[in-house]
Symmetry: C2
Subunit: 333 residues, 2 copies
């Protein structure tokens, strides 16, 4: 079968609006540190008025991952919904400039392109407040069958589960991928997202997911257990491959009866953790679709994640293919 | 007289779109490294399509300076023209979030808010391509007399000279400031800008400017001389205070018969020189309007400039008041 892309990502197409904030700003505004909260347009306006000066960078979990795959030298495609406004142009540009195929039809008029107001506290943690805007218009009709069939992996973000039509789009894509003998990958996205959708996420993972990404909090929330070991026990066998990220403690990769521990890459100074999980998935999926062993997939994931947390924003600043080549030369496996 | 603000800035209200580029990208697209070129909407679209992924940060020379003054703890106001579109909202937010008064009426519809497509090469030099958009609508009616009369210093960017109505606005503001016993400050902005307007800049400086900012290339271009010494000779006496920046070699401050050399602050790694001159002016004007001696004004300018070249974008990432307090504690005068 013809492979046009290594990975096609489906997700909420979002522009990040990133600002510094002190912990007391979070408290005063009732924000839970480290979480992603969905907000409406009025609340977005209110919060934006209170926030400090910001920078705008394309984001969106799955889109960050596809940007990472492309930066590593892989072929990526993306499906997500923007409006034909200035931020929609920014979002589309930033993917296409990396060679990513992005053909989803933009809506005209309103709602506007989605924004996530991201507060980065001095501990480099990010707290996200997302106005979904045009993203709510994503539906099954946006899932292009040829694109899904032509990609080695279809990668889905758990955040899509928050809207019924996006969920339908998600399931349609998973069916097409499997019918075509392709792999389906999911990221759990966020512990609160897992809390909202626990039962259906578990069904989904059992029935449709080959490669699962989660951080340790998300996977423990999914199985309502208190230790990583118990979560590993519970998820083992549910998917072909499971990669669990553990911040500075690296990641654990499960494959059938095997488990690998992958060390985190050293980072000079952690500036903003936004996108760490997205870029880990990028490195891992790039490794997998280019035929690398799992331990190396995890290592490329760690390198990509380390780059993105060393600066503001969830997209790589340094071309990742160059970075991986440098690291491999410095530390041959 | 009542002083509502320390500095009011008048300039082109621009959102910067910043991307990495290799030197060969500049060559292929006929761009002159280090310059600011005015481009039309079609050319902006063409260049944007060719550029890599970018980040969006509010910019505009005088607006960067006012943001710096506010970040240092000074009171700033700004006059400049945006459109009521998403980038216009971003621009207004980023000033107001710093406590800057920004009341200029936005236009509706088109042209859209100005953008500067900035290519940062591996040597950290920036090459700017500016689509002025809504800025061309700035005119004398936008100059609010009370705001000018209420500010210790009215700060003007040379770039305004490129459009006749902005030039009129500029001259109106200078007249109001002087009639009210206030100071007028000008930055020459860019060597090419000086080449375009040499004669009228010289008239302006002789007749209307009390505090002049320029880098060494701009001041030499203004007087058509080949050495800094000759330029200093020529400008001496034309204004009350002249501050000439010299990149890594610091700055020279002239005041009547006196001249001070101010060292540059050390920077770990120069990432993007965009905004260096703007932030030097911010520090200098903050020092001046808070009654510091000239040598200290220059030093605060150097600290602010060093901060902004250590990361992408022309607005401070670290609150400058904190930075100046830290440096002063570390190196008491």
């Amino acid at each position: 079968m013809t492979t046009a892309h290594d990975v096609v990502g489906i997700g909420n197409a979002i522009v990040d609006v990133i600002s510094h904030a002190e912990d007391k700003f979070l408290e005063r505004n009732g924000l839970v540190k480290g979480s992603m909260t969905l907000i409406d347009e009025a609340r977005a306006g209110e919060l934006y008025d209170r926030m400090g000066p910001a920078i705008e960078i394309s984001g969106g979990s799955a889109a960050n991952t596809i940007a990472g795959v492309a930066s590593l030298g892989g072929k990526g495609a993306y499906i997500g919904k923007v409006c034909d406004d200035q931020l929609g142009d920014v979002f589309a540009h930033d993917l296409r400039a990396l060679g990513v195929a992005f053909e989803t039809k933009a809506i005209t008029g309103s709602p506007s392109t989605a924004r996530s107001l991201i507060l980065v506290t001095p501990d480099a943690q990010r707290t996200m407040n997302t106005y979904l805007g045009a993203c709510v218009e994503l539906g099954p009709d946006d899932i292009d069958e040829a694109t899904i069939r032509g990609a080695k992996v279809t990668y889905l973000e758990g955040y899509l589960w928050d809207k019924p039509t996006a969920k339908e789009a998600f399931l349609k894509a998973a069916r097409i991928a499997h019918d075509g003998g392709r792999k389906v990958s999911l990221t759990l996205s966020d512990s609160f997202c897992v809390e909202r959708h626990r039962a259906s996420f578990r069904d989904l993972i059992d029935g449709h997911v080959d490669i699962l990404f989660a951080n340790e909090h998300e996977i423990m929330a999914l199985y309502e257990v208190d230790t990583l070991e118990a979560a590993i026990e519970a998820v083992r066998g549910a998917c072909e491959i499971v990669a669990i990220t553990r911040s500075a403690r690296g990641s654990v990769v499960l494959s059938g009866p095997d488990a690998f521990e992958v060390a985190a890459e050293r980072v000079g100074k952690v500036v903003d953790t936004t996108g760490a999980g997205d870029l880990y998935a990028a490195g891992f999926l790039y490794g997998l679709t280019s035929g690398r062993p799992l331990a190396e997939c995890g290592r490329i994931g760690s390198i990509a994640a380390a780059e993105v947390i060393s600066h503001y924003g969830a997209r790589p600043e340094t071309p990742l293919d160059r970075l991986v080549a440098e690291r491999s030369a410095a530390n041959p496996a």
